[in-house]
Every structure is written in C-alpha cells, then in structure tokens.
C-alpha cells in the first residue's frame, strides 16, 4: 500500500460581486493505491470544487489560493501549465458528471480517444494508438465497433462507459468520478459502478467517487469522506461511517437515510447549509449542531484521528493520546 494521493491544506476561493466565497477551506486527504474513497456532502459543500481543484481546472472568478495536491510524489500545483496539461489524464483523470453530453457529437468515439492519447504521446504509431483505444473499450465491456460510432448511436450507460474508457487510456494513478451515475437508471448504475470497480482493480489506481447516493456509495467504496461547507467533517471506513458515525453532521446524515425500521418517518437535518459568503465562525456546523459547546463558536476544529481510527473534525472528541 503506497500513498498515491496526498492533498494538503487545499484552499479555493470564488471572488464574486457579493464577496469572497470560501469554497474549499484547508482540505487534507490521503489516499493509497487501490483505495476507493466516497466523497459525500450536500450541494454546495465543495465536492465538485475539490475535484476541479485537484485537476487545476478551477476557472475565474475562482482561484486556488494554496495547498498541495501530490500525485505519485509530484505536486500538481507546482507544475507549469504545459506540464499540467500532460498530467491530466496520465496522472489524474476526471470522469464527468454529465456523461450524456460529454462526448463531442460530431466526432467519432475513436477520434476522441485518439486525440487524447496523441496529446500525451506523440511517438506511438497510429495502429498502436488505435489498438490501445480498442483495448480500453473492451475493458469497459464495449465492442470494438464503438470506435467507429458517434455519441448519438450509444445509450446513456454506454456513453458513460466510453468516458471511463477515455479516463483510463493512460493508466492514471488517481481517478475522480463526479457523480458518474447521476443520470442513469439503477440497472445501468450498477453496470457503471462495476465497470469502475473492475478497471480500478486492473490498473491499481485510487478512486474518488463523488455522489449523493449513500446506498450506491457504501457498496463500492472503502472509505467515506463527509464534506460540510468546504471542509472535511469526517473521514472513516464505510463500516464505521454507517454503524458509528462520529461527527454530529455525519450522524445526522446517516440517520436521515430511510430504513425499513422507521418506515414513514423522515429525518431531515434541521437548519440550512450556510452561505459560503458568510460562514459561521469556529466550526461551520455549530448553528445546526445538537451538541454545540462554547468552544465550537470560536475555534475551528482540526481533522484528527480519534480512537477507532476515524478522522473527525469535532471538539467533542479528544485527541488520541
């Protein structure tokens, strides 16, 4: 188990007309090869911003204010623009949310795979590149004939698998899949998730899976990270997260999942997610927290490991001695 991804103190701010919005406020994360992490949190909590920041694809008015994203020992934030172009897809890959429209309608699927390889590898012969594309298509259970097809000839699940095939063309160390199943029906969702699972085992990379669907999440990932208002609230294994969540927000999130025992009862989380323009002082969850203490209103809790192995950012838990 080697560390392939290390995110240190990553910060992103959006400069809007109504003020600065801290979308990502000092996120720390470590991922080993072969590990699958689920990133959950409500809308606007910073999940997609984190994915884009790791790809260095934050666009104005957003800016990456600081931090490191270390993939295989290289800090992506220190690379030149040209080097970063090369790192995308070959070191770190992003599988997009809206896979329905993520393929160019006027280019054949093959051409969209070939140009991706050519951008990173100018030496290989045409036939070698095409063979690699065909193999990638086969590895996601698509026929070689898809190479000559257009996006409109494919179903939603097939398009999403083409995106995965493009994502793994250069055998990256980290794959970020941003809600890869959001527009698909449950049967196709399962196929897509199994595909991601298998290609991850094939190339031995780490996967970050962003999503809302806790049920789908817990079947496929090893660890779950809960985000709240641009910070990580808790990172723990799936089992710990679902049986014994530590952070009050994670507890509320888990207990809001419907289950057969409390049929008909719907547990929401009281209050609203804070505006990123006016974040509460101290722990950003304190206005909604049932266990709020004085210290929560003034001091930002750091993410630390508590007994049992979970990482939690909450003043309720003393640091492990």
């Amino acid at each position: 188990m080697t560390t392939v991804l290390q995110v240190n103190n990553l910060q992103v701010t959006y400069y809007t007309d109504s003020g600065r919005a801290r979308a990502l406020d000092g996120v720390n994360l470590t991922l080993n090869s072969g590990e699958k992490l689920g990133l959950v949190g409500e809308s606007g909590s910073g999940k997609s911003t984190m994915a884009l920041a790791m790809m260095r694809m934050i666009k104005l008015p957003g800016r990456i204010e600081g931090g490191q994203v270390i993939v295989d020992g290289n800090d992506l934030m220190a690379l030149s623009e040209e080097e970063m172009l090369n790192a995308r897809l070959s070191e770190i890959t992003y599988i997009p949310q809206g896979a329905m429209n993520s393929l160019n309608p006027v280019m054949r699927i093959g051409a969209q795979m070939v140009d991706a390889i050519k951008a990173h590898d100018s030496k290989s012969s045409k036939s070698a590149i095409e063979e690699r594309c065909m193999e990638a298509l086969e590895s996601v259970d698509l026929g070689r004939n898809v190479f000559r097809m257009f996006a409109h000839e494919l179903s939603g699940g097939m398009k999403q698998r083409v995106c995965i095939a493009i994502g793994i063309l250069l055998k990256p160390s980290v794959i970020i899949a941003d809600e890869p199943t959001s527009a698909l029906d449950v049967v196709t969702q399962r196929q897509v998730m199994e595909t991601i699972d298998r290609v991850q085992k094939d190339i031995g990379c780490a996967v970050i899976l962003i999503g809302h669907d806790m049920g789908l999440m817990c079947q496929f990932v090893d660890k779950v990270a809960v985000m709240y208002a641009g910070r990580l609230a808790e990172v723990s294994t799936v089992r710990q997260m679902f049986s014994d969540p530590k952070h009050p927000y994670a507890q509320a999130l888990i207990s809001s999942l419907p289950s057969l025992e409390n049929k008909g009862v719907f547990h929401g989380i009281p209050g609203l997610a804070p505006s990123l323009l006016r974040l509460p002082s101290g722990c950003t969850f304190h206005p909604r927290c049932p266990h709020v203490m004085e210290v929560c209103k003034t001091t930002v809790p750091a993410l630390r490991t508590v007994p049992g192995g979970a990482q939690v950012a909450c003043h309720l838990y003393p640091e492990k001695a």
């Binding site: 890959t93 329905m100 160019n104 309608p105 140009d115 951008a119 409109h152 493009i166």
Partner: protein, 332 residues
C-alpha cells in the same frame, strides 16, 4: 436507397418552389398598368422622330409580338409553357436582346464579386465571432470583432458611398467606378486583369464590411453556448491543447447552424449586390434588374427573379444534402 429517395423528394420540392415563385412573380408586375413597349416608344418619341399616329400602330404591333394583347390567363399559360422550354423571352426595353443574353452578360460580374465577398466575409466573420466567444483567446484578438459588430448597423450602400469618398475620391487609392478603365478594350492580359481587380476593391470592401458583422454576431452567440458544453470541458480534462479543443470541439459544433446561413446568403447574393453595383456602376445582374424594374420590363424581371429563386432553392437542396456530412446526427 434512402439517399436516392431523399434526393428525388428534394428535387420535386425544388420544382414546386420554382413554379410557385414564378407564378407569383408573373402576376405582381401586372398589377401596374404600365406597358414596357409603350414606355420604350414614349421615351423614343420624346427624343423625337415618331408621329403619334404611327406610334400607336407600332406599339400595337409590338404588343402583339410580345403577346401583351392576349388575355392575362393566356399570357400566363404561354409563359409557363416557354419556361418549360427554358425560353425566358425577349427584353422589351433592350429589344432585340433575349433575357437569357442579358443574364449571361451580367452574371459573371455578379458571381465573381458577390461569391468572393460572401465567402470571404463568412470565413472572416465566423473566425472573429468564434474567437470573441472563446474565453482563452487573447483580449486584443477578441476585441477585433467589436468594430465589425458596429458596422453591422450601417447599410452596405452607405459604406459604399463612404469608401468611395474617402478611399477613392480623397486618397485616390482605387478607381471611382465602372468595371474597368474607360477606353480599355477587354482582352486577356495581366494588365487588364489587374485593372479589373482594382475596380472590384471598393465594391468588395463595402460588401465585406457590411456583412462580416452579421456572421460575427451569430457566431459569437453560438460560441458562447458551445464553450460551456460538457464535451468542451471534458476535452480540457483530457489535457488536450487549447487549439485542438478550439478547432475540433468548439468551432466544428458552433459552425453547424452557420452553414445553413451561408446557403441562404449565397442564394441571395444577387439581390444583396443590387445597390452596391448601382453605386459603383458595375454591369452586374443587380444593375440589370434595377433597370428592368424602372421600365417595368417584366420579362426581364421574371427571368432574373426566376434565376434568383432557382439559385436559392438549389443552394438549399445542396446544403441539405451536404449537411449530414457535417453533422452525423442527421445522417440517413
């Protein structure tokens, strides 16, 4: 097989369009009581030489020759019959020239000038519009489009007069009008071709400046939508170079609706050139049509309008048949 069926359907449609257009153009000039034969001889009589009694006889004779004395429905059936034989008839005003001769003489001038300028402004306008919509293009490059968008509000004829005055009259950079220098006999040589070219510069500039802005505006509007599309963003995630994304993902998609616009613009080159040809005294189809309308020389109007209709309709059919090559989603 599907393609052959489509082709036949389109060609039949083309015939219907031609019939409908020629019928409408047949009746509209007839709403006016003016008779081209009478106008022609009245003009001659004013310059002297005819006695009024002879004049009426001559006019009656020519009316019979042109068939203007028959009832209107009879004239219509004769007209449709001669169209079917590709006979467009005679010009009353420039008798004894046939309408086809008039078109043959003037068409090359119009085609060379307007085809070139339409295609040039399509290329320039779409590139400028695409760059203006592309967020990663340098600012100075994006700002080139702005003056052209302003010029879009100015009619080409005003531009023509302004260019004529400043570049032609004040700075003497280009000749003031005509198709070639006065006194030169058309022949094939380098000096004559250069002379022809010089006379086309100002008309071409006014047509280009007048139409580039339209392409810029529509392309920029299209481009703003396309640059936010998921496939453009995914292309960036793939680590492609900016130029590749611009050309293959952005431009190719944004250009699709513009091609339809190009077909319409190519079809209407003759009408869009009428005024500019008039200002510069070019002997093109527009000038001929303008003169024919003034003297109500309806066979010439019929002929040229029919020619325009056929060219627009043919362009549309050609584009419709070519479009599937550009957009795979509508391939049959």
């Amino acid at each position: 097989m599907a393609f052959a069926r489509l082709l036949i359907r389109r060609l039949l449609f083309l015939l219907v369009v031609i019939w409908a257009a020629s019928t409408i153009t047949f009746f509209v000039p007839r709403l006016s009581p003016r008779n081209p034969v009478r106008e022609r001889f009245a003009a001659l009589a004013r310059s002297g030489g005819f006695s009024p009694t002879d004049l009426e006889k001559i006019i009656a004779a020519y009316n019979t020759k042109f068939g203007f004395d028959k009832p209107l429905w009879r004239q219509y059936t004769d007209y449709v019959g001669s169209l079917a034989r590709l006979d467009l008839g005679l010009s009353a005003n420039q008798y004894p020239k046939t309408v086809i001769q008039l078109i043959q003489e003037s068409l090359p001038w119009t085609i060379t000038l307007l085809l070139t300028t339409t295609i040039l402004s399509f290329i320039i306008g779409n590139l400028l519009g695409a760059v203006a919509a592309w967020p990663r293009a340098p600012n100075w490059l994006r700002s080139i489009a702005t003056p052209f968008m302003l010029l879009q509000g100015v009619p080409p004829i005003i531009l023509a007069v302004l260019l004529l005055f400043f570049l032609g009259f004040k700075l003497k950079l280009a000749p003031l009008g005509g198709a070639y220098s006065i006194g030169v006999i058309p022949h094939f040589s380098a000096t004559f071709v250069w002379d022809l070219f010089k006379h086309q510069i100002l008309p071409a500039l006014s047509l280009i400046f007048g139409s580039v802005g339209g392409w810029v505006l529509s392309m920029r509007g299209m481009g703003v939508t396309i640059q936010g599309e998921d496939y453009v963003i995914f292309a960036e995630h793939k680590g492609l170079h900016g130029f590749t994304i611009f050309r293959d993902y952005f431009l190719r998609n944004a250009l699709l609706p513009q091609v339809t616009g190009l077909a319409l613009a190519l079809g209407s080159v003759i009408t869009s050139g009428i005024l500019v040809e008039g200002v510069f005294g070019l002997p093109g189809l527009g000038s001929v049509l303008g003169a024919a309308i003034q003297s109500n020389d309806f066979l010439v109007i019929y002929g040229i309008v029919l020619f325009i209709t056929v060219s627009v309709a043919t362009m549309m059919v050609i584009v419709e048949l070519l479009y599937p090559l550009l957009d795979p989603r509508i391939r049959v």
